[in-house]
């Protein structure tokens, strides 16, 4: 008989959401199409919002509800909408990107996950929040999004990787400390939104200068 101690259903649900976040990052890592990538990003935002709302319910912290609503609005709806309009304007909706061998990326991803889990284990022992188990997952999704930024060579997926990394960090903040103060959260949300606008302008600049959104072409900046 394995020993297991029953935990409340909300906690089980939270673990499930955390696992789903990790799964979505892996799906993003293996995705070639930009439009699907944006849909995955929207899904990630929604699950993040659900998990924050769940932890708000679990820990009776009403301010986390605002945080969840903010996440849902910004990362589940507004940012994906902006991104979709952007790629429509840029004409890269059906763009398919060539990646380095996907199975290799996946195996590297597993190594990263093991690394992150081991890294989070000692930290989790110091933490006394009930969400501490999910810290490893948050860390893993940050690292995986970072890897996604490195392995991509088009500008839009790199930005999506960046936003996904922000999602991971946000999740880490919620799981380690029950969320940041409201001012900080609002500030971060605004930063992300402004960042998104700047990225949007950058996309057009990059395309006008290099006739492509492929960032590898930026290597030849000085030669013309």
């Amino acid at each position: 008989m394995p020993h297991w101690n029953p935990v409340p259903f909300a906690q089980q649900l939270l673990d499930l959401f955390a696992a789903l976040l990790l799964l979505i990052v892996f799906a993003m890592l293996s995705q070639r199409r930009i439009l699907t990538l944006i849909h995955l990003f929207a899904l990630q935002g929604m699950i993040l919002a659900l998990s924050i709302a769940d932890s708000a319910w679990l820990t009776h912290q009403p301010h986390l509800y605002y945080s969840a609503a903010l996440t849902l609005g910004l990362k589940g709806v507004i940012l994906p909408g902006l991104l979709r309009r952007l790629i429509g304007r840029l004409g890269v909706v059906w763009d398919v990107e060539t990646l380095i061998n996907i199975p290799t990326t996946m195996l590297l991803g597993i190594v990263l996950v093991i690394f992150a889990f081991n890294l989070a284990l000692p930290i989790a022992h110091f933490s006394h929040t009930i969400l501490r188990n999910t810290l490893g997952i948050a860390l893993a999704s940050v690292l995986l999004s970072f890897m996604m930024m490195i392995t991509r060579n088009k500008a839009v997926p790199q930005v999506i990787g960046f936003l996904a990394m922000e999602n991971g960090l946000f999740f880490a903040a919620t799981s380690a400390t029950y969320g940041m103060p409201m001012v900080v959260e609002l500030g971060v949300a605004l930063d992300v939104l402004v960042g998104m606008f700047i990225f949007g302008i950058f996309f057009f600049q990059i395309r006008d200068t290099f006739d492509s959104l492929d960032t590898r072409k930026m290597d030849h900046l000085g030669r013309d």
Binding site: A18, A19, L23, I110, G136
Partner: protein, 315 residues
Amino acid sequence: MSAWVWFFQLIQGVMALLLAPLLMGWMAYCRARFQHRRPSSLWQPLRQWIKLFHKEVVLAELASPLFRVTPYALFGILALTAGLVPMVLTDLPLSGAVDVIALAGLLSLARVILALAAMDVGTAFGSLGARREMLVAFLAEPALLMVIFASASLNASTSLSKMAATTLDRGFYLYPSLAFSGVAFLLVLLAENGRIPVDNPETHLELTMIHEAMILEYSGRHLALIEWANALKMLVYFSLGMVLFFPFGLSRGGSGWEIALSFIGFIIKLLIFGVALAILETVSAKQRLFRVPEYLGGAFLLAVLAILLHDLLGT
């Protein structure tokens, strides 16, 4: 008491033999419905096999005994595995004999025999199909084993009866690791049974076929036995998935009513599964063969993640 239990073992074996063609018929029926075609009868696979049993067997001149023995061996192995997986009762006398890892071994034994037989006659299609089958198999097997390990570490046993009983004792519990390995298992199930993202069971298109290419040389009762074995494999995979991920409804013996209820539950699960699979096959397209490593690599990844998550989140 013991005679009673063996009687149930026998009943389950017979039930599996009869349910397998009906499952195939049901899946074909659902698929036809979703694709707006007029469905054939549920009994169609069974009818077809009966027709095949009445036809004569045509053998190639160079066929070795292996080629002739294979259909019987295949059918025997899969009928045996169908008796090993708990379908209605958790505790069957035979299921103590073989744990889930040995079960995976039996399934791969069946596959190797079929691949050898396909290469035996020496036609181009046979060896082509066999090679493709082995490609799929060697990628799917580690993923299947990882799925099994994830469930086994959760239930602290590799015996299917014990795993089902532990899960039943625990009651309904959301495990992220189980969700992951469940998806991985579904991917493996589709690949191993030659369903749509990997192989299309309905065509004989030489560019894409895997399973059909292997059995192209078979005719008459041999063909019927192989197809029947294939249907049994589907049923075995389905009930394996049910035991690993959703054993609720399985009966632990007790009264006759409970067993009857469990049987009805099993049929309902089977029907739902058929509909789900038909939807999946209708909305997805067959992949190129060279995409299969990616697909099964994904399954492997999910299963490994399931084990890691089990370690991290624990119980």
